[in-house]
Amino acid sequence: MIEGILIGLSTAFTIENLLFVMMGCLMGTFIGMLPGLGPMSAIALMIPIAATLDPSAGIILMAAVYYGAIFGGSTSSILINAPGVASTVATSFDGYPMARKGMAGKALAIAAYSSFSGGVVGALLLLVAAPSLARVSLSFHSTDYFALMVLGLVAVAAFAGKGSMIKALLMTVVGLMLSTVGTDQTQGVARFTLGMIDLVDGISFLLLVMATFALSEALMAILKPKGDAARLEEKEAAQKLGSMKVSGAEVKEMAPVIGRSSILGFLIGVLPGAGATIASFLAYGTEQRLAGKKGAEFGTGSVRGLAAPETANNAAATGSFVPLLTLGIPGSGTTAIMLGALIGYGIQPGPRLYIDQPEIFWSVIVSMWIGNIILLILNLPLIPYIARILAIPSRFLLPLILFFSLIGVYFVSFNTFDIQLMVIFATVAVVLRLLDFPMAPMILGFILGGMMEENLRRALLINDGSWSFLWERPLTVTILGIAALCLVLPALTGQIRRIKDAAYKRTGASGD
């Protein structure tokens, strides 16, 4: 492991890569702060630049953008109560009330320290967990990988929220369907190209991500324009921050919260599909319960209430790299985009990455530490200036986002057909967003589609065309069993809760 860390340090600690970490953190914060644009859009917008770099530098840049965007999302949550991403929704519960009390600077500082702690503890745990899991996963067969991919896809849908599971599953299937467009890799047969030569190579992953995230988010902002009052509030919030000092008593109060939330966040982040959003809500709920009488302060500007979700979402973001780096299976939409970028470099993440390309594996881990340090020492003092982006009128910002999204894809392929395809996908995405259909499961399905088909094909070949591997190999059965549980459990717990409620009402009524 020491050797690995040294490899990581020597790769990440070049002037060039340090500059990329700095640039990534700043750009990520900048993009993440824009309401509506989250880490997925931020990373997607960076891919055209990352594609021109060597793999280590590209991945380091994207990881830094990821952290920066999460931090940027927290900033807009605190300042204007507009979480750029779901994972910073819980941050706004106490961050925004603090800002309303004139303590926006302090809230931002607490968010930065908590994010830093969550990220650093997460990276430390990643250092231990990733190589161990990579060693274990070397014994995985293609049947197990197929099952793991099913689990990853199902888990993302299962955590989609109440009533949204079928929608999320459906969007996953749509993503898988889109991944089959183009020439079949093994048999060389064209599929779903509709006779168009531009579709023979399939749909570009970057194109799909840009269209369904960056473009459609900008179009949604045009579709639902903000009122003058909201715009004025954003401008004022960006100008008045107050002191950034955190007192000793507050540090003492937050320290155990940060410790607990880091570990909880990391563990939740490792689970495929769970991700930073669940981690942040879970940490918030846990700390509220543990706070005893002080729990009543949650939601009114409590420092604990702010520190818990901020720590947990960063630790979870780090944790989500574990399945990506060790199994090659992304646990979230963001890591799915990173997987797409890695594949674009010709790198297949998985247990072999740890052995074959240790410089990439370790430099990602080391760059997470560097990224967190840079976020703290560079971004925090710059926040008053970066926050001014919130004062840029949307009439300038939105056409610019559209332009950067379109040109980002065009500069990779130089094919104007891609721009037309983006317009079509963005139109569909806007309609589906209005109907509350989630986009992240679709991207995950799209990214995993090719690998899933390949592993299924291989598994069938090894088993002489028999599907019996699905129930004969214990590990495969176990993983598929967990996937089935993920599907059934939310419905089952909902049912049990309903029965309990009904029973409680009955006994309550008879007691009266």
């Binding site: 369907m177 089959t180 639902k224 009439r395 939105l398 104007t416 589906l432 094909r457």
Partner: protein, 149 residues
């Protein structure tokens, strides 16, 4: 009742049905027809899953009615067409002219009326971006219309 779930379900059901219909176009060689896994296997599984899930979404009870109040459809439609036109014009007009036009008109449509500001923001930004791409990252893109270069 035409709820959000049902509208989405119907749209995706139509897409899945079209997808299933197009599976027939995937050509298989005679010796591949008996294989356990062909280029059609995965699409067939996906089509069945997609149609099944979309059908459940359409059939199951739901109450989330779409709220279309206060949505600026006109501007979104304009931008969709404008992006498409930008895609068609970026080669014949060249990067500098087409992008400046794209941005300036975009700013104007979203409410900026001062002509000098439209030019002051879009022109330098486009020129700087073009210089960064061509000189900094060595990605060449024709700046002017085809005949001028």
């Amino acid at each position: 009742m035409l709820t959000k779930d049902r509208i989405g379900g119907i749209l995706i059901l139509a897409f899945c049905a079209f997808y299933a219909f197009k599976i027939g176009d995937i050509r298989l060689l005679p010796f591949q027809r008996g294989d356990a896994f062909t280029a059609r296997t995965m699409p067939m599984v996906l089509a069945v899953l997609g149609i099944g899930l979309a059908a459940i979404l359409v059939i199951r009870p739901s109450r989330n009615l779409p709220d279309l109040r206060g949505l600026d459809w006109g501007r979104v439609a304009f931008f969709l067409v404008w992006m498409s036109i930008y895609g068609l014009s970026v080669r014949p007009l060249g990067f500098l002219i087409s992008t400046t036009l794209f941005l300036a008109v975009g700013f104007a449509v979203l409410g900026e009326r001062r002509l000098w500001l439209l030019a002051a923001v879009s022109v330098p930004l486009v020129v700087l971006f073009w210089l960064l791409m061509t000189q900094g990252l060595e990605v060449y893109i024709a700046p002017f219309p085809e005949g001028w270069n």
